[in-house]
């Protein structure tokens, strides 16, 4: 898992992306409803990639901000697991206003180990990784 998390996004454009066939129904000119099993059509692919591109973009942006010291690693990992503050607050069991505060470096630095563990579990990483952000994303 840790190794996957190093990449920009764990699942997007990995080797099994787009390799699954799903069942689709359709209606032809002769007036019959039909079932078929096929890969993604063009529209599906476009809208899915649009979403994944946005997630990657947001994560990358957050990463730059963390390296610049503007936001805390929490904000970055939150984007990485495709969550918003509300979703993260549900996943980690921390209230929403606290999540928003913890996205600021000032409040992140004084977090207790207990809260950090809660976040780390939600992100599926170890507490050390969460604390030592520079090592993970360094050149």
């Amino acid at each position: 898992m840790e190794k996957q998390m190093e990449n920009s996004n764990p699942v997007y454009k990995n080797k099994s992306y787009g390799q699954y066939r799903e069942m689709l129904y359709s209606y032809d000119e002769n007036g019959n409803f039909q079932k078929s099993v096929s890969y993604h059509g063009e529209p599906d692919r476009v809208v899915l990639e649009q979403a994944w591109d946005l997630f990657n973009e947001r994560a990358e942006e957050a990463k730059q901000k963390v390296l610049a010291g503007k936001v805390s690693p929490i904000a970055y990992y939150m984007e990485k697991i495709l969550a918003d503050p509300m979703g993260l607050s549900m996943m980690a069991g921390v209230s929403l206003w606290k999540v928003k505060l913890h996205c600021k470096p000032f409040f992140f630095k004084r977090l207790s180990d207990r809260t950090l563990t809660q976040y780390a579990e939600a992100f599926n990483i170890s507490m050390e990784q969460l604390k030592n952000f520079e090592h993970l994303t360094g050149k």
Binding site: Y12, Y25, Y27, H40, V47, A51, L54, D84, M86, M90
Partner: protein, 333 residues
Amino acid sequence: MTELNFEHRQAGHCESGVTSNLLNYHKLSLSEPMAFGIGAGLFFSYLPFLKMQHAPVTSFRVWPGMVFSRTTKVLGIKTHIYRFRDPKASMDKLDEVLAQGFPVGLQVGTFHLPFFPPEYRMHYNMHNMVVYGKTDDFYLISDTVMEQKVRISYDDLMRVRFAKGAFAPRGRMYYPYSFPSSFDLKHAIIKGIRKTAGNMVRVPFPLIGTKGIRYLAKQMRQWPEKLGEDKASYYLGQVLRMEEEVGTAGAGFRFIYGTFLDEAGTFLKQDWIKEVAVEMGHTANYWRQFSYLGSRNCKKRSGPGQSFDELADMLMECADREEKIFRNLVKIR
């Protein structure tokens, strides 16, 4: 170690597929569109105050769990539905039910589901699948999205069953256990159609049914000015993702529903329902066209014909057609 003789059939929509497969195991053959129609699965709602993946929620289906509960209720099948606080207790209960010889339907979150197609691994907690057996290390899964049967480890299963976030499944599991000696399928079909039609045209609330489609169309015209081109195109993408993505079998369930109407017309021996089914098929193709043109817009390669105004016009047309269909269907006897 248990393994039930469960027949895996791939399906377009997870929940109606699971319902159909579960009933099929108990010797009640009900096709997937039939389960979808009787369970009144078709719906439309646009919820701008609820954000999912950074864009408003558009839903083409009813609340998760409704298809199964409605279908079994109207057919007089007795079911058990459980939710849990404690993950351990939920797994123990699952083992117990499997040992009794019932395949079990589960509601899970897709984000941590290891066998799931990677493109769909977003936070979506309303996915359904069936557990039909257990070996020493693995649970045997029949997931209607996949072509083959799959398996999953104990820890992974516990994790997806207790996925957190919006609509958390909380270990929801369900299975039918007692069947009546005879079924009134005719009554069930009529009730299902009337329920769906009522949901689509008779609910006095602007965000639901055909009114919801019109509201979305009106909002869509304002998106480019209100949000800017990028965000507007992302919002449009969200609508299309909900319409075409996993579990809708194309065009926001309209194809499945058309298939159901076709089957229902044959079963009830009412020809006018078959005519409505044809209408539904054309409407579904129109939705398909909408998503095709919409996706051109998302790709930022839109010509003059794919502006938000034109797309909104198409949505309005969809709403008109569906209103006509469901005003017709609501009169079913």
